[in-house]
Amino acid sequence: MSVLLEVDDLHVTFATPRGPLQAVQGVSLSLEQGKTMGIVGESGSGKTVLSRAIMGLLPRQTATQTGSVRYNGQEILNAPNSELRRLWGTQIAMVFQDPMTSLNPVLRIGQQITETLKLHLKLDRGEAKETALSLLMQVGIPSPVERYDAYPNQLSGGMRQRVMIAIALACAPRLLMADEPTTGLDVTIQAQILDLLATLQRDRQMGMILVTHDLGVVATRTDEIIVMYAGNVVERAPTRVLFSKMSMPYTEALLRSTPRITNPSHTRLVTIEGRPPDLSAPPAGCPFAPRCPYVQDKCRNAKPPLTPSSVPGHSYACWFPLGTGDRTDDKAGVA
């Protein structure tokens, strides 16, 4: 399996009126072809900035990016747009969250697909339309011939997202980034879309990155998961390992504050008090320290590095991983 994407010590800092905002602080990851990686985090974790930085979509004037992002060995961080344009669509593609704002509302969807085909693959009109129709079928849109001439607002949310996926896959990219692709969609449609992505990924042997805030989305559909908090990677593991051997308290807190169908009704959810830190003035120690129920003095003073655990592929950033420290707060959460 070749390594498709390698990110090394990526830092992204935004220049804001209030001072520099460190949205991403030293993130490293690598993705092999044919594998799916999940990036999980809440608002302010930096996951969206990370995905945009990898794609090269951040505005150069305000975003300072350091580190390395290599696609297929080629360095693409801070590459000029002319170089990136050769990769976008043909090698790397992105599916965004809200298909209504990502699709052009005044163009027919058929046109939006063929546009990218004609541009990148230099197909003529007839070939492009044929390919587009076959794509629409592959993404599961019923009666593609009729839908070809439809406008985005004539389609439901689920259909629009399928169109977005069709556009992203039109030129057979090898890396697909999906940023919250199913947030806001109905439950049954979410399942359909995620299954569709998984099938397409398998068939085309693409590498896929799923960025989401929902642990449920990544639990059964990823090979590896990265958990982000306040711009840092706080835990990384193969999916099964993450859920069975989670070591970082934030991961545990995230899981325990998610309501579960399998829990009886009126289960008291374990909450994390407070809010994520201000990224323009990141604290000295562990970013989760102010809210961690297991916090100790060392946590406040020194930032824990990402340490590998005994399980291969699993690393976490914590001085006192779960199982080693005692709870130091007075909140006894219900498991």
Binding site: F14, T16, P17, R18, L21, A23, S43, G44, S45, T48, V49, R52, L57, L58, P59, T62, A63, R85, W88, G89, A93, M94, V95, F96, S102, L103, T116, M164, I167, A168, R275, D278, L279
Partner: protein, 300 residues
């Protein structure tokens, strides 16, 4: 391929910071200069009779005719030997009254139905909306010409008419603004709390559309002053010898090209400059205000 760039508003969402509350925008020096000038003109006009100015309608045969700016008459005299500076300051009264009062009338006549229409929707809205389109399509100058010709040229009549003719546009602007707020959940919340429609319009919607009202109001003032000038040029503004900037332009235009054997460009330059400066200041102030009131919403 979907968007390849990230706009600055998207970037705000990307940063996902929920408590950005220290960004106080300043109005800037420029804004206060503009406001200052407008205020100064208003003061001059209001207290004109306390100033050491000769009577604007007094034709002083002892003074030189058509003189350029000089010591005795700071801005010169016109061809009837009247002091231009004095006429300019007294003339400001007409422009300011027509401008501000007319804008106010337009705001009330157009704005209140607009708010009700946008809030209630339904048939009233459809009718008023269509009516405003129809009225807007009609050139108001013709309407004004006809009515003023038959009704008379008193200052209050002109003010009232221009104000009313501004109301369709006010209606459209305020309706659009109200619509964007009337759909929001906080209006629904107020309704479910038992607030009456009147209370909702006054306490929930009006404070939110205020920035638009004020900005658009100032621009209306500017536009109305121009309309008055146009009417004067057609000979339909206040009757001479009452000075108004439009009148002065009208009368002065004949002396631009030596119509009566003399040329006196100052008769046109000064009122034009006065109008121009006032309009620029009003427009700039309106624009700055609009920017200042642009409330940034909470980012989830």
């Amino acid at each position: 391929m979907a968007s390849t760039g990230v706009s600055s508003s998207e970037m705000v969402l990307l940063m996902e910071d929920p408590s950005d509350n220290s960004n106080k925008k300043k109005l800037g020096v420029f804004f206060w200069i503009c406001v200052g000038w407008v205020g100064f003109v208003i003061l001059l006009a209001v207290f004109a009779n306390l100033l050491p100015l000769p009577n604007p309608t007094f034709q002083n045969y002892l003074a030189p005719q058509n003189a350029g700016p000089g010591w005795g008459h700071l801005l010169g005299t016109d061809d009837l030997n009247r002091d231009i500076l004095s006429r300019l300051i007294y003339g400001a009264r007409v422009s300011l009254v027509v401008g501000f009062a007319g804008a106010l009338i337009g705001m009330i006549v157009g704005g209140i139905p607009a708010m009700i229409s946008a809030y209630r929707r339904g048939r009233i809205d459809t009718w008023l909306n269509t009516a405003s389109y129809i009225v807007l399509a009609f050139p108001i100058i013709i309407f004004l010409i006809v009515i003023i010709t038959f009704w008379g040229r008193d200052l209050w009549k002109i003010t009232l008419l221009i104000g009313i003719s501004a109301s369709p546009l006010v209606f459209r602007v305020i309706r659009a603004s109200t619509l964007s707020y009337a759909q929001r959940d906080f209006v629904l919340a107020a309704k479910s709390l038992g607030a009456s429609d009147r209370r909702i319009l006054a306490r929930e919607i009006l404070p939110n559309i205020m920035p638009t009202v004020i900005s658009f109001g100032l621009i209306s003032v500017a536009t109305i002053i121009v309309i008055e000038g146009t009417l004067a040029f057609l000979g339909l503004s206040v009757e001479p010898p009452t000075p108004s900037w439009g009148n002065m332009l009208y009368e002065g235009s004949t002396l631009l090209t030596g119509g009566k054997g003399q040329t006196n460009p100052w008769l046109v330059i000064f009122p034009a400059a006065a109008m121009f400066s006032l309009l620029i200041c009003l427009n700039l102030a309106a624009d700055k205000l609009r920017g200042y009131f642009d409330v940034t919403e909470v980012k989830l």
